[in-house]
Amino acid sequence: MRGLFDRLGGGRRDRGQAHTLEAFAAAILLVAGLTFALQATAVTPLSASTSNQHIENQQRAVAGDLLATSADNGDLDAALLYWDPEVDSEDGAFVGTGEDGSYTEGGPPNAFGEALNRTFLDRSIAFNVEIRHGDRNENRTQLVDMGSPSDNAVTARRSVALADDANLTAPGYEDTTLRRLADGTDPGAFYVEDDAADGDVYDYVEVRIVVWRM
């Protein structure tokens, strides 16, 4: 080092190198300080991190499996048909939803809703359930509305076919079928319009669960 200083001329002229190094150090210090400050903000369950990704993956898997088991044992179909066709001036609504039109404090009062509550609500995980229907699944009906999802929400989907002769599951309407509602034989209305799918299928609807940590 000394030899190098001597070759450079030595003495006070050496300080230029030190100043340069100092300037670099100061710059790095500033940038690192900023980065560190940004990264060191309070860690919450919603902070972006690898463990947070794990939680999202898990939630997506759980929501998807819940839909699959509910579809298999028929609970999902039953929940979609838990519709009172005559309330709200014959526009109909899900049983017991009142003016909101959707359940806001948890799942619907049936087996699918119990499964939702058991899986998510008991673990402080919020969820929305949305039903998309129509020829291109362009219409939306909210079954459960627990608010706006956070940025870290995940979605699981499942398609369900409703048959023309499917009976409603709402108390007192067990003999009402979708076809009889559509052609006006039975009074009231169903939220899925009869978009005349070929065959004896009323419509193919898509059920979406959006899940996020509260």
Binding site: F5, N57, S159, D200, Y204
Partner: protein, 327 residues
């Protein structure tokens, strides 16, 4: 911080030269300090960078896993949709309808479903295609109606969605040993193997519960498989192929030997006099059906499903027969 400067000798006659050397040595302290700082900051920066790269890698690889589930999701939609379509079509068949009516309806429905699945896939940047394979649809019979002892279904090769609904109040009292003589009995008669399998439904005569199911082979050694303490709505539904009693799981009702059976079997009933019982089933059979309503129906459908995106290529053949017992 410690003084790392060399001591100054101000009285030295050659102090001019020495002073210059001292100043050079003085710079060393600053250099050491700055070098230390640079190293410390570099280490911190390295840690932050490492963390960021691990996070980015996690995000990058996550996409592939999510894409894995998509074809399965659309496949499930195809299978469920076709199953509902087949069953809804079979239920709608009238007595004077031929098999071709059901076949046409199901084929049109599958074409319609294919279009919808295509739309779903297109929204995710993929292509989906659902079509019948060469095996296509197989003709079966949709059998329904009130059950009496003369009701039979002959030469059934396969059976699916076989449900029995019995008025709880008309269920005969019995226990496992008296069941062959008293209980409502569904008999699966494998005449080629000279073997019968029985499923008994009865009200346990000890009064503890409302309904019970027992099974037997060749009508002997009946063993109880499940019990139910209360029947909802006064009507007991027994899912013989699904293995359920009033919606509750009851494994082991369906004789597993029937699934391996290469020869056809007959379905018969016994002890149903005075019992309010109805059945529905879809059977793959070209034999006769007596004392029950029977319409030509689609038994199953063999489909080819294809799904393709930039990352995933998925192709499978799947047979749809909703409610068929697992092998």
């Amino acid at each position: 911080m410690a003084d790392v400067n060399a001591p100054r000798d101000l009285d030295d006659p050659n102090r001019g030269d020495r002073n210059r050397d001292c100043l050079r040595d003085a710079d060393r302290g600053q250099l050491l300090l700055v070098a230390g700082l640079v190293m410390a900051v570099s280490l911190v920066a390295l840690v932050v960078l490492l963390n960021a790269s691990i996070y980015s890698e996690n995000l990058a690889t996550r996409g592939v896993e999510a894409a894995d589930g998509e074809p399965l999701e659309i496949r499930a939609a195809a299978v469920d949709g076709t199953g509902t379509l087949i069953d809804a079509t079979n239920r709608e068949q009238q007595e004077d309808d031929g098999y071709s009516d059901a076949e046409d309806d199901v084929e049109a429905g599958i074409t319609d479903l294919n279009g919808r699945l295509g739309q779903t896939a297109a929204r995710r940047g993929g292509i989906a295609n659902l079509s019948l394979t060469g095996d296509g649809l197989r003709e079966g019979r949709y059998v329904t109606g009130p059950v009496d002892d003369s009701a039979t279904v002959r030469d059934a090769e396969r059976t699916r969605a076989f449900d029995l609904a019995i008025g709880a109040s008309s269920l005969p009292d019995a226990n496992a040993s008296t069941a062959p003589a008293d209980a409502v009995t569904a008999v699966f008669n494998r005449s080629a193997a000279n073997t019968t399998h029985e499923v008994y439904v009865y009200d346990p005569d000890d009064g503890s519960d409302e309904a019970a199911i027992a099974t037997a082979t060749n009508g002997t050694n009946a063993t109880e498989t499940c019990r139910l303490d209360a029947v909802d709505g006064g009507r007991l539904s027994v899912g013989l192929t699904a293995g359920t009693i009033d919606g509750e799981p009851c494994p082991g009702i369906w004789p597993t030997e029937l699934s391996d059976e290469p020869d056809a079997y007959d379905i018969e009933f016994a002890n149903t006099d005075g019992v309010d019982a109805e059945m529905t089933a879809t059977v793959l059979s070209d034999g006769s059906v007596t004392s029950l309503e029977s319409t030509p129906a689609v038994y199953d459908a063999t489909l080819r499903f294809r799904y393709r995106t930039a990352d995933v290529r998925f192709e499978t053949t799947v047979r749809v027969a909703p409610g068929e017992p697992n092998d």
